[in-house]
């Protein structure tokens, strides 16, 4: 049906709040572990010092800063990718009976995150095999190579095809087990489109020898900005990694709307305060 911004607000803010919490945890881990702390933690995920290669697989569980090592990958995924699931979740919300709605949304979200976790594990395995074959990958060279690969992928028709898939949401069954299955299937297909679109950028952030958080933040911004563009026919296309053409006007518009909302809010508050004082005077009088 016609999307209702207010009706979906709980889900939207829930997902955005989850992403924000994930960023806070990552930043907290960075702050508590010190400037090099998170680098060391993330180095566990990156190409250098693979603990299981060196027989120290339990290093995944040893963390300074209070962040369980096994949760680092999912936390990164939630921080960067959770908001991209919103169009699929909105579809499930609008297409579900009220009594099944939350279940459908959770199933869809779970399937979406599951695809990303699997993709993350595959990327880790690929890096492990690469490290096993070629030795530790230190320095900026691996990251530079991965950025070139990411840029080629960005310009490829497969990238556009995957981006377009993220906008494709078929009708969902309403009754019976098919309703739940369709929610899962939507999460899976949306996740696969997302992975197909963003895997190269994720890989590049993993290979950064330092500045992981900044790299993650930039990648998140770029991935979001891409979703502002309309779908296009898959083709080889010059696509810059820089400031996408709609992101700046989008930010300017949000800023203007935010300022207006703040001014309206202040005006309403002032009006109520004046009314309250007047009422007080009348009572006193």
């Amino acid at each position: 049906m016609i999307p209702d911004a207010h009706d979906f607000a709980r889900v939207r803010y829930g997902v955005l709040g989850t992403a924000l919490l994930a960023w806070v945890l990552l930043l907290n881990g960075h702050a508590q572990a010190g400037a090099d702390g998170l680098q060391a933690l993330l180095a566990v995920c990156s190409s250098s010092g693979r603990p299981w290669f060196q027989g120290r697989w339990w290093a995944w569980l040893e963390l300074r800063g209070g962040l369980p090592g096994m949760a680092l990958g999912p936390t990164m995924i939630l921080a960067m990718m959770a908001p991209l699931a919103l169009p699929a979740l909105d579809k499930v919300w609008r297409s579900s009976l009220r009594r099944r709605r939350l279940r459908g949304v959770l199933l869809c979200f779970g399937a979406y995150v599951g695809v990303w976790l699997l993709a993350g594990a595959v990327m880790e395995l690929a890096l492990l095999l690469w490290t096993t074959a070629a030795g530790d990958l230190k320095g900026w060279a691996p990251a530079a190579c991965s950025l070139v690969v990411a840029w080629i992928w960005q310009c490829s028709p497969l990238k556009q095809h995957s981006l377009n898939q993220c906008q494709r949401h078929p009708p969902l069954a309403v009754f019976g087990w098919r309703a739940e299955w369709d929610a899962v299937r939507l999460g899976l297909s949306h996740g696969m489109g997302c992975v197909g679109s963003c895997w190269a950028l994720m890989m590049a952030t993993l290979l950064l020898p330092q500045g992981h958080l900044a790299g993650m933040a930039l990648a998140t911004l770029l991935v979001f900005a891409e979703r502002l563009e309309p779908p296009r026919r898959p083709a080889w296309r010059w696509r810059t990694m820089g400031w996408p053409r709609l992101l700046r006007p989008w930010l300017q518009r949000q800023l203007r709307l935010g300022v207006h909302a703040l001014l309206d809010g202040l005006s309403n508050w002032a009006g109520r305060a004046r009314a309250g004082r007047t009422l007080g005077l009348r009572r006193g009088g």
Partner: protein
């Protein structure tokens, strides 16, 4: 600046005795003489609305056949080169807003810019400085006679014998025979013997709405002007004014011969090539202005006033450009023009709710209420299990199963209905409608018996949907990932009847879809899902 007045195209009989139309023809002719990549050309302006001239676009037919511009039968002779540079195309072309609350303001700005260019050209040809775009009021005239297309558009030559730029070969009308008229309610009443029309489809019932976006007791979803959206070139659910009369006038004016030979007006990517397009939209703009003149207000929401992220921009004469927002075109007075007829008193009185209360045997009169959007969202009640395919002339019936709990809640609302506790509104959604024949119109019926009589057809009629924009919305790599069009019809009055007959507890509602004209043999339209929603007041 002096107020310019847009006049009725049917003045002086609607032929070239009407000087507005004669100068329009000359201005169009001058614009048509320019190149495709010239922002002052007819073709460039048409592409601003939508085009099939750039093979890189996701909706460009592959292999290239109509509606690709190179496959349009002349007149007019449509150029396909030279294309403007990519940046210019990205900035100006494929801007038209559909399925959106921006539909009305975007088109107002579009007409304003085209009119400015035409006026400049007309002035250069010795025409009047106060020339303004005429409108085609298909609801006007005694007994709906102005539903016929003004004769000037059917003439192949101008009075001086030269080719008439207003004449277009690919304009077939609702019966596909070149006779272009709009089957309005009044028109159908004056043609009772026409077997094609047991009732008129096209109406101005939307003018009874009192809410621009959203719904209230007088205005069904999604509102007079359309739903809140971002930039929406190929939108999903069309607003009430956009659905009827706008979409239906487009597809009925265009008409079709086959799935690869349909009228230019029927498809957003070719519609603005046909000069009748601007007279149609001038009437839509006039109706919006009349709606405002009756005291109905446009949104004050900053998200509407400021427009979407991608800005609306038009070329203006002397190589200028004009970037505008809905705030800039909020009223015609701010743009210094008016209309010959802007009679607010002619707006239909709202009666749908009163009729419902009569059906439900509710006594008493409705208290007055100011327009205010419902806060309650529409709840899904149920849906069909499988897609519905439409082929040929055949009707297709689908069963829309209802959830027991939601059906009970609806029945309870209808039983307890009073003037102070209004009954739930019920909507039927046709979702993911896909195909390539924009020129088709599909009639929608609820609980239609087999072999229905004309009276039964009228009694079960939920509405008609014109598939304007179908091809572009179905393009696999187009906007919304090729999910097709969505339509929302208010079926409250039909559900009330089922309730009164005690049949709402059957657990499902039968919905029948029937093309208004038999579809071409190779053509198929698919409706992905039919679903029912109820909205408490």
């Amino acid at each position: 600046m002096a107020i310019l007045v847009r006049n009725n195209a049917w003045n002086s009989g609607g032929d070239f005795s009407n000087t507005d139309l004669l100068w329009y023809a000359k201005g169009v002719g001058k614009m048509m003489a320019r190149d495709l990549n010239d922002p002052a050309s007819w073709w460039f302006f048409a592409a601003i609305h939508g085009e099939y001239v750039n093979p890189q676009d996701p909706w460009y037919p592959s292999p290239p056949t109509f509606p690709a511009w190179g496959n349009i039968s002349n007149p007019p002779t449509v150029p396909t080169t030279p294309l403007p540079d990519a940046q210019t195309q990205l900035r100006y072309w494929n801007q038209c807003q559909h399925g959106s609350w921006y539909f009305l303001p975007w088109h107002r700005g579009y007409l304003y810019a085209l009119e400015a260019q035409l006026r400049a050209d007309i002035l250069s040809l010795g025409g009047p400085a106060n020339w303004a775009l005429p409108y085609w009021n298909y609801f006007g005239g005694a007994k709906g006679v102005q539903a016929q297309m003004p004769p000037a558009f059917a003439q192949k030559t101008l009075p001086d014998g030269s080719a008439n730029p207003l004449y277009v070969a690919m304009r077939y009308g609702p019966d596909g025979d070149g006779n272009v008229y709009i089957p309005t309610v009044e028109w159908a009443q004056t043609h009772p013997d026409d077997p094609n029309w047991s009732s008129g489809d096209v109406s101005s019932a939307c003018m009874a709405n009192d809410l621009y976006t959203g719904s209230d007791r007088t205005t069904p979803l999604p509102g007079f002007g359309g739903p809140e959206t971002a930039f929406s070139h190929s939108g999903r659910v069309h607003g009430n004014m956009e659905s009827n009369p706008h979409d239906l006038v487009h597809v009925y004016t265009g008409g079709f011969i086959s799935d690869t030979n349909y009228g230019l007006m029927a498809d957003p990517g070719t519609a603005a090539l046909d000069p009748i397009f601007y007279l149609h939209h001038c009437n839509i703009d006039r109706m919006w202005a009349a709606w405002n003149a009756a005291g109905r207000t446009n949104p004050s929401d900053k998200k509407w006033l400021q427009g979407p992220v991608r800005q609306f921009i038009m070329p203006m004469p002397q190589h200028e450009s004009w970037a505008y927002t809905p705030a800039d075109v909020n009223s015609i007075a701010s743009l210094d023009y008016s209309y010959q007829e802007l009679d607010a008193a002619s707006l239909p009185a709202p009666s749908a709710l009163a009729e419902r209360l009569k059906t439900l045997k509710v006594s008493g009169s409705l208290p007055d209420s100011a327009p205010q959007a419902h806060r309650a969202a529409a709840e899904l009640m149920g849906a069909s299990a499988a897609p519905v395919q439409l082929k040929g002339a055949g009707a297709a019936t689908a069963s829309v199963r209802m959830d027991a709990g939601e059906q009970k809640a609806l029945s309870s609302s209808l039983r307890a209905a009073s003037v102070n506790a209004l009954p739930d509104q019920v909507y039927l959604q046709l979702d993911q409608v896909k195909g390539v024949l924009d020129a088709a119109v599909v009639g929608v019926y609820v609980d239609l018996p087999a072999n229905p009589t004309p009276e039964q057809l009228r009694a079960s009629h939920a509405g008609d949907v014109g598939l304007f924009g179908l091809r572009r919305a179905s393009a696999a790599h187009g906007e919304h990932g090729g999910e097709g069009l969505s339509f929302v019809l208010d079926v409250s009055h039909l559900i009330d009847r089922l309730h009164q007959q005690g049949r709402l507890t059957e657990g499902s509602v039968q919905v029948t879809l029937k093309p208004r004209r038999a579809l071409p043999q190779s053509c198929q339209i698919e409706v992905g899902q039919l679903s029912l929603y109820r909205q408490p007041h």
